[in-house]
Symmetry: C2
Subunit: 153 residues, 2 copies
DNA sequence: ATCAAATATTTCAATATTAAAATATTTCTA
DNA sequence: TAGAAATATTTTAATATTGAAATATTTGAT
């Protein structure tokens, strides 16, 4: 389903890659999200925060926001929901009382420790559509793309 | 920022590609979304529907949902908002009265016709991080990934 | 030391998103 | 043809998301 746009060759090429990149990431995410939802009742965002805390230890909310490329208000909301479910705890920083750290509860640690290997296998399965060499090449290209900073136009 | 997970080589490779794929698509989307929001006050979903109607003509809501990989309820909401802004009109199908077609209004057609070339240039600019050959290769790899259907596990 | 600027989080209003239930309509089958 | 099953859309409740305004706290400049 290529673009229907009548533009320059370079625009058409870019539009077609863009469409395929979005399709790939959305369809992989949709499958992983369904798995996450059906097995643990977690959203992708909730999982992302649990995973970051699991692998990196306690983080404050600004740090989490940067890591996830999400706004501060969003992190507040998602952590509210994780706290409601008893998976995460907030702790006000003593040295700088503006800051709030989030950390896993025992329940949260157990859930993510248990789930993460399944997540890894699910991703491995998804990526099996590509050979190891293709995976490395895809990683390299995505990295180049993601890094691009747009100062102005 | 590679994965911290201690898994098999194949799992680690897959996790790393996955992270980069998500980063790339999210950061490109974030930049395009900011542009869309600041110039037209449109969301990515609204733009997606306007663009589909522009290039494909009137579509019913099921067709739009399939195209966008979104749920029926979601399409109802986004079209509600497009209708509020006078960019899209609903029309009940006469032959099958369950079906509702959406079509651009004159205002909607003008907006998207005017905006789309800017969108194409913005994407061209994003993809300039890669050579034309790299773009084609990225497209090929993404297509292979996106196609993968998961029946069961 | 004081006060303005910067920083971290929360709140708010608007939009997006899903799954599931409800509604309307059509199609299929006994 | 009547009723069941299928299909299309809407509604609802819960969560996500943003940008902007509000609040709390710290830092920096005079």
């Amino acid at each position: 389903m290529p673009t229907h746009y009548q533009g320059s060759e370079s625009e058409v090429r870019a539009l077609n890659v863009y469409i395929k990149l979005m399709r790939a990431s959305e369809s992989v995410t949709a499958r992983l999200s369904a798995f996450l939802q059906s097995t643990e009742g977690l959203t992708v965002s909730q999982f992302g925060i649990l995973e970051a805390l699991y692998h990196l230890g306690p983080l404050n909310q600004s740090q989490i926001g940067e890591k996830m490329l999400k706004s501060g208000g969003n992190i507040t909301t998602v952590i509210d929901n994780l706290e409601k479910r008893g998976l995460v705890q907030r702790r006000r920083c003593e040295e700088d009382r503006r800051v709030v750290y989030a950390d896993l509860t025992e329940k949260g640690r157990e859930m993510i420790g248990n789930y993460f290997p399944k997540h890894a296998r699910a991703i491995e399965y998804e990526m099996n559509a590509l050979t190891p060499e293709e995976q490395d090449e895809l990683g390299r290209l995505c990295k180049k793309l993601g890094l691009q900073e747009r100062s102005s136009r």
